[in-house]
């Protein structure tokens, strides 16, 4: 520290990141590298689904029920047209999985974006303003959390489905899913953000900003928020993984994406009926994709937690 050399060029943002603690630990961590690679492959492949998929699973003209339940290539009785086999309705499994993964990821990311928006705003306000508003918001968060997202989502979706009827529900299922997963999980963000805001607020640089006469919004956005980012990053990864699982679980129960527009969860669900008759692949292959996707996100989250080591809200 005492030997600070002067006149050193300011390094670029990327090289700062690459040479930072985070960059270093990433380069040294094969699990993180492989996880990120797999995640990127899945994300890119599913984004490019319309290009990569040989069939369009949403187009009834391309589906022939006579093609149903062909096993994957490496099993006897396969049809070389269908690389991973076909499902019970005769859809090409490879194409359906690509589209399904796209849906699952989309719902997961959008739901987390909604959670983050709600939770961060509420958490910032609760933490910074404090007092009665804070205790009220946090009480609400506690109660919301104690009811478990899945429970809230199941009841909400069940009632909506019953109210609107299956057809209308299926049409708007994607929005319902994003809304319910997004709204039900805001306390995760709100509590974490609030806890960091409270911790940061005690630090003297906030007092210093107040003595310098800065307004509350400037302090919240310019000073507190940038210092609350690491826990937000860490829980975001975990939340994406959880949102994908929640979506899959809801679709599995028939309360999410309809079989005509299947996400990974609904694909697994439709395959479940055929597991006893030996057509394991309709369940197993989407299942493996789902687990791998969630696993790599969780592994990245774990790595990030180790590196950033934020104080997360407990209990």
């Amino acid at each position: 520290m005492s030997s600070l050399s002067t006149n050193q060029p300011t390094p670029s943002r990327f090289s700062r990141l690459w040479n930072s603690n985070m960059g270093y630990s990433f380069r040294r961590n094969p699990v993180a590298i492989v996880s990120l690679a797999i995640f990127l492959i899945i994300a890119i492949a599913s984004t490019l689904a319309p290009v990569l998929a040989p069939f369009d699973p949403y187009d009834p003209a391309q589906i022939d029920i006579m093609n149903s339940e062909y096993p994957p290539m490496w099993v006897d009785g396969a049809d070389p047209q269908f690389f991973l086999g076909t499902d019970d309705q005769g859809r090409d499994l490879w194409s359906t999985i690509l589209y399904g993964t796209r849906l699952s990821l989309l719902i997961g990311l959008c739901a987390v974006a909604l959670q983050a928006f709600l939770g961060i705003s509420i958490g910032l306000v609760a933490g910074y303003v404090g007092g009665r508003i804070d205790s009220l918001l946090m009480r609400l968060a506690d109660i919301q959390l104690s009811f478990s997202t899945l429970m809230v989502a199941i009841i909400f979706l069940a009632v909506t489905q019953a109210m609107f009827g299956s057809e209308t529900f299926n049409q708007y299922a994607i929005y319902f899913l994003i809304a319910v997963i997004g709204v039900a999980e805001w306390p995760q963000y709100a509590r974490t953000v609030r806890a960091t805001v409270l911790a940061e607020k005690k630090k003297e640089y906030i007092d210093s900003a107040r003595v310098l006469g800065f307004g509350p919004i400037r302090i919240m956005v310019r000073h507190i928020l940038p210092n609350s980012l690491s826990p937000i990053f860490v829980i975001s990864t975990v939340q994406v993984a959880n949102a994908i699982i929640s979506e899959a679980s809801l679709s599995f129960l028939g309360l999410g994406m309809p079989p005509s527009q299947p996400s990974l969860g609904s694909l697994i669900s439709s395959g479940f009926d055929y597991i006893f008759s030996g057509s394991w692949w309709i369940t197993a292959i989407p299942g493996v994709v789902l687990v791998v996707l969630v696993l790599v996100i969780n592994l990245l989250g774990d790595w990030m937690r180790d590196v950033l080591n934020p104080k997360l809200y407990k209990g």
């Binding site: 899959a248 599995f252 369940t283």
Partner: protein, 326 residues
Amino acid sequence: MLAYLVKRVFQAIAVMFAISLIGFAIQDNLGDPLRELVGQSVSEEVRQQLRDELGLNDSFMTQYIRFLGNVLQGDLGTSYFFKEPALDVILKKLPATLELVAGATLIIIGLSVPLGVYTAIKPNSVLSRIIMGLSIVGISIPVFLTAILMIFVFSVELGWFPSYGRGDVVHVFGYWETNFATADGWVHIMLPSVALASIMLPLFVRLIRAEMMEVLQSEYVKYARAKGIRPYRIYFVHALKNTLLPVITVGGVQIGTMVAYTILTETVFQWPGMGFMFLEAVNRVDTPLIVAYLIVVGFIFVVTNTIVDLIYGLVNPTVNLARMGA
């Protein structure tokens, strides 16, 4: 302590009140009780008359207060499908679900503490790495997929365990029939409990490990070492108690999650519990049953959470201090 108790109970009542309001709103908007009562063939005049008699034309508040009054007396309406009081239908299914939750809880408590403590004490051992690796795989597999996988492996391929139902149950009292009295019952409850535990167990192992590792870094653990206390006493007397305090609160929240997951496991294993019944009720648009389920499950959540909070207050010697502000 008194203020704390009053506050908690007060809050629990407020939450139950909110749940009943939601329940009533659902009942009010979902399904037409007349259709269930008289069918389509009755004239509009008779319908209006029936509506008046049933109080369906009263104001929202009047209807809600009547609903609340009925709920407090244990009358949650009559199931359209079973033609029985909804509460009875649920109470018949409740023991199956509670036994499933109990089985899973036993597995979780029995395994998470030793595994969490072990991985915290020996973070670099091969076994710890395997446990931590499995735990992250564990939280990445949705419960229903674990359940399907287990059915496929243990029922379809190996044929060791049955794939559905409760098997032989023994009547205990009231509506209570237990799985834990016969060998067949044990065999049937095995897979569903393990499946239900599969997502919570890794979560708890990781939580206990993280807490324990933090506690092991604390000054008072260093001090205990400096006093020459044996490692096992440090781990299990000094560290574990401090570790479990935050785990208790998280555990309370997770009970709610577990009840939600019973819907998934019960569906896969066709376990005749509340969750399975609820999903069927949803498909049949059996509104009174849906509302009754909501209220019963809400009640279970609120009661367990309140109890967990009170236990935390009793176990933690510093809780009083925190409130004294000293």
